[in-house]
Amino acid sequence: MITVVDVTLLVLLGVTAISVIRVRNLFAATMLMGIYSLLSAGLFVTMDAMDVAFTEAAVGAGISTILMLGTLALVGSEERAPTHRPVLPLFVTLVVGVVLVYGSLDMPAFGDPSNPVHQHVAPYYLEESYEDTGISNIVTVVLGSYRGFDTMGEGAVVFTALVGVLLLLARGGQGGHRTVDLRPGAVDSASTRKPSAGEESDHG
């Protein structure tokens, strides 16, 4: 049963990814990327990574989509036709993909308890975290207590993202309320900012 769900989600994921590449309307592409995030969240659920799935659904499918829509409202939603053939990028992507798949052949089986990653600190967390803290969600304990420094760094990274966006987009105005006279360069900086909004979903 779980195999059926996995295969279905992966096929839908592939179809969505190809659709994002093929579609020329950026509004449709943004919506498809939201769907892609939601499908990824579903895959994380089948892998029992509830917290990651939660973050992916909230950030990837929710906030990132809204930020991209906000950008589209500024830059228009129709992509220009490409002026060159994508042979070289396609070749590089294929080679990298093949190398990654080749590398994954050497990886230990997914979910095997004898994997190296489960031999280091994970047994201690699983056995002792409730004794140490009285909190039953191990993910929360690891993020908040055992790895408190990391989470503080993540908070600082999120805050830095806001500072960076404000420096780029909201110069000289209260809360970004510039009304007129945006130079083309300023609009470009808005569109190059787009990938970073998606990256934040990695920090959950």
Binding site: G62, I66, G70, G134, G173, G176
Partner: protein, 139 residues
Amino acid sequence: MDDRVILRIGAKILVPFIMVFAFYVQFHGDYGPGGGFQAGVILAAGFVLYGLVYGLANLLRVLPPSVPYVCGALGVMIYSGTGFVTLALGGNFLDYNVLAHDPAHGQHYGILFIELGVITTVFGVMVGLFYAFAGRRRS
């Protein structure tokens, strides 16, 4: 926007539930999936939905732009401040054991405080990002 009755009423019904759900995710993070990060995003999503449906001007009346910006910085201060409090109480930085007599209770308080810092920062940053993008006009 005036003629989209279903959208307006639907958003009006949804927004409070989204916010309550955010706090559920925040305070239930000790026992189930979730935590400050997810809660902050969901809380921000509630405000963003309000702004999308009722217009940015109305959202700015509810939540002036200074609020999310201050929240973004305040959350990091709450988080690192918890670290300095544990330092002052004689423990290591972010060692919550010293926050209460029982180390397990101290851990509980510590995680509560830092999750409060995380939700504050994430909420502020997400709404702030929305303001930064939505506040611009097309050139």
